[in-house]
C-alpha cells in the first residue's frame, strides 16, 4: 500500500473519511487484499478492546481521537508473520546449491569416465594393493601402531623423563 491508500484506510477506521471519498475506499478494498487484511485486523482489535474495556469502550467509541490512537497502535503492533513461503524458498535454494555442488564435484572427479560400478574399487585401489601387506604383517603393524600410541604419552610418568 502507498501512503495515500494508508491515509484513506486510516481515515475510514477513525471515522473521519469524507463521504465523497467512500467510492475510493470501496475500490481499494475490492482490489487490495492487503487493505482488506489491514481493516480486518483493526476491527478485530477494536472488538477485543470492546470486550476487555466494555465499561470505557462505550464512552470512548465515538471519540475520533481514541479511534486514531487505536489505529496507530494497531499499525505499530502488527505481529511479524513467519514467512513460511520464503523459508521454503530458501530451503529449496539450499538443496539446489548442494545438488549443483555435488554435480560439479563429481563431474570434476578424477574418476570421471570410469563406469559407476567400478568407481569405488578404483578410488580405493591403493588400499586393495596394500591389503596383501596388511595381511602378511598384520601383527607387526599392530605392534608398531601400539608403540606409536605408547610413545604419544611418553614423558607423562615420573620415571620417564
Amino acid at each position: 500500500m502507498n501512503d495515500l491508500e494508508q491515509k484513506l484506510l486510516q481515515e475510514h477506521l477513525e471515522g473521519t473519511l469524507p463521504e465523497e471519498r467512500a467510492g475510493d475506499l470501496d475500490q481499494l478494498l475490492s482490489s487490495s487484499p492487503e487493505a482488506r487484511r489491514f481493516v480486518a485486523e483493526h476491527q478485530a482489535l477494536w472488538e477485543a478492546l470492546g470486550v476487555a474495556f466494555s465499561d470505557t469502550a462505550e464512552s470512548c467509541e465515538g471519540s475520533p481521537e481514541f479511534r486514531a490512537r487505536v489505529s496507530q497502535a494497531a499499525r505499530q503492533v502488527r505481529p511479524q508473520r513467519i514467512r513460511w513461503g520464503m523459508l521454503a524458498g530458501v530451503a529449496a535454494a539450499a538443496l539446489v546449491v548442494l545438488a549443483v555442488t555435488e554435480w560439479i564435484y563429481k563431474s570434476d572427479s578424477p574418476l570421471e569416465g570410469i563406469p559407476a560400478a567400478d568407481r569405488e574399487v578404483v578410488r580405493y585401489l591403493h588400499i586393495l594393493r596394500d591389503m596383501e601387506m596388511v595381511e602378511l604383517f598384520g601383527e607387526e603393524l599392530d605392534l608398531r601402531g601400539e608403540l606409536e600410541i605408547h610413545r604419544a604419552f611418553s614423558g607423562e610418568l615420573d620415571n620417564e623423563g
Binding site: 572427479s109 570410469i114 567400478d118 599392530d142 605392534l143 601402531g145 600410541i149 607423562e156 610418568l157
Partner: protein, 286 residues
C-alpha cells in the same frame, strides 16, 4: 507447512547419512594414480579386485576397523619416512622396518617375558594404559580436566579410551604450540591426525626443548640442540629433562622469585607435566 519443513530436515539428514564415508577419504592425487593404474590392468585382474572389494565390504565392522587401523599405521610409516627425506620405502624396506620393531620390542621385554607378538602387544598395552592414566591424572591435577571427565573416560572401552586420550593430547600440544605459531599453523595442525601432530611436536621440542611459553623463554645452545635432535624417540624425554631442568630452575629463582622448595616441587614433575606447569607460571607473568 510444518510438514514441508520436516521433510526438508529429513532430506538433509538423509543426504548427510548417505554421503558419510565408511572408508577414509582419498586425496585427488591418489585417485589420479589409482585411475592410471586401473586403466593399465588386464580385465581378469580388475575382476579379482572387484571381488576383493566386495568381500572387504562384507566383512564385519570390527574387522574393517582393524584393517583401517593397520592401513593407517602402514600409511604413517611410509609418509614419515618420505617426509624425513628418505623417499617412499619399497615393500622390502617396510618389511625390514616392521621386523626391526618386533625384534627391538622382543629385546626390550626379554625373551622369557614375551615370546609372541600377541604377548608383546598385551604388555605394551598395559604400559600404554599406565601412561594414559598418568597423563589424565596430570591434567586433573592441573585443573585442565574435571574429575567427572576423567572418570567418564575410564569407563569407556579401550579403543574409545585411547582415541579420546589422543584427541586430548593433540589439543594440549596445539594449545602449547600456539605460543610459537600464528593462527594458520595451528589450523593446519587441527586437520592432522593426533599421532601426526604428536610427531610434529616432538620435532619442535628437539629445537626448543619445551613447547609453550617456556620454550620461547629458555633458549638452547647449538650443542644442546644437537643433543636433542640426536636423541632417539625412546630416550628423548630423559635427555631433555637433563638439559632443561637447570635452565628452568635458574629462571624460576631469578625471574619468578620462587623459593627453592617451590622450584623443587615443580621440577619433580614428569617432563610434559613440567612443561605445562612452566607454561602456566610464565603466563601469569606480566
Amino acid at each position: 507447512m510444518k510438514q514441508l519443513v520436516s521433510l526438508f530436515v529429513l532430506a538433509v539428514l538423509l543426504m548427510a547419512a548417505t554421503s558419510a564415508l565408511r572408508w577414509p577419504s582419498v586425496p585427488r592425487e591418489q585417485q589420479n594414480r589409482n585411475r592410471l593404474q586401473w586403466m593399465a590392468l588386464p580385465e581378469y585382474e580388475r575382476e579379482r579386485l572387484r571381488k576383493e572389494w566386495t568381500d572387504l565390504n562384507a566383512e564385519p565392522r570390527a574387522v574393517q576397523l582393524e584393517l583401517m587401523r593397520r592401513l593407517a599405521t602402514l600409511d604413517r610409516l611410509r609418509t614419515r619416512r618420505n617426509l624425513n627425506g628418505q623417499g617412499m620405502p619399497a615393500t622390502e624396506e617396510i618389511k625390514g622396518i616392521l621386523e626391526g620393531v618386533t625384534s627391538r620390542l622382543r629385546l626390550e621385554f626379554g625373551e622369557g617375558l614375551a615370546r609372541s607378538e600377541g604377548e608383546m602387544l598385551q604388555q605394551l598395552r598395559i604400559s600404554t594404559q599406565r601412561r594414559i592414566d598418568g597423563f589424565l591424572d596430570n591434567l586433573v591435577e592441573a585443573g585442565r580436566l574435571s574429575l567427572e571427565q576423567r572418570e567418564a573416560a575410564q569407563e569407556s572401552s579401550w579403543d574409545d579410551y585411547v582415541r579420546n586420550a589422543l584427541e586430548i593430547q593433540k589439543a594440549e600440544e596445539i594449545f602449547l604450540y600456539s605460543e610459537f605459531a600464528d593462527g594458520d599453523d595451528s589450523v593446519e595442525l587441527e586437520d592432522l591426525a593426533p599421532l601426526d601432530v604428536l610427531d610434529e611436536m616432538l620435532e619442535i621440542r628437539r629445537l626448543r626443548g619445551f613447547l609453550g611459553r617456556a620454550g620461547a623463554v629458555l633458549g638452547l645452545s647449538a650443542e644442546e640442540q644437537r643433543l636433542l635432535s640426536e636423541a632417539s624417540n625412546e630416550e628423548f624425554y630423559g635427555v631433555a629433562k637433563r638439559l632443561m631442568e637447570p635452565k628452568a630452575r635458574e629462571y624460576m629463582v631469578a625471574q619468578l622469585g620462587m623459593s627453592k622448595q617451590q622450584v623443587d616441587r615443580v621440577l619433580s614433575q614428569p617432563y610434559r607435566d613440567l612443561e605445562r606447569s612452566l607454561h602456566r607460571l610464565l603466563m601469569r607473568q606480566p
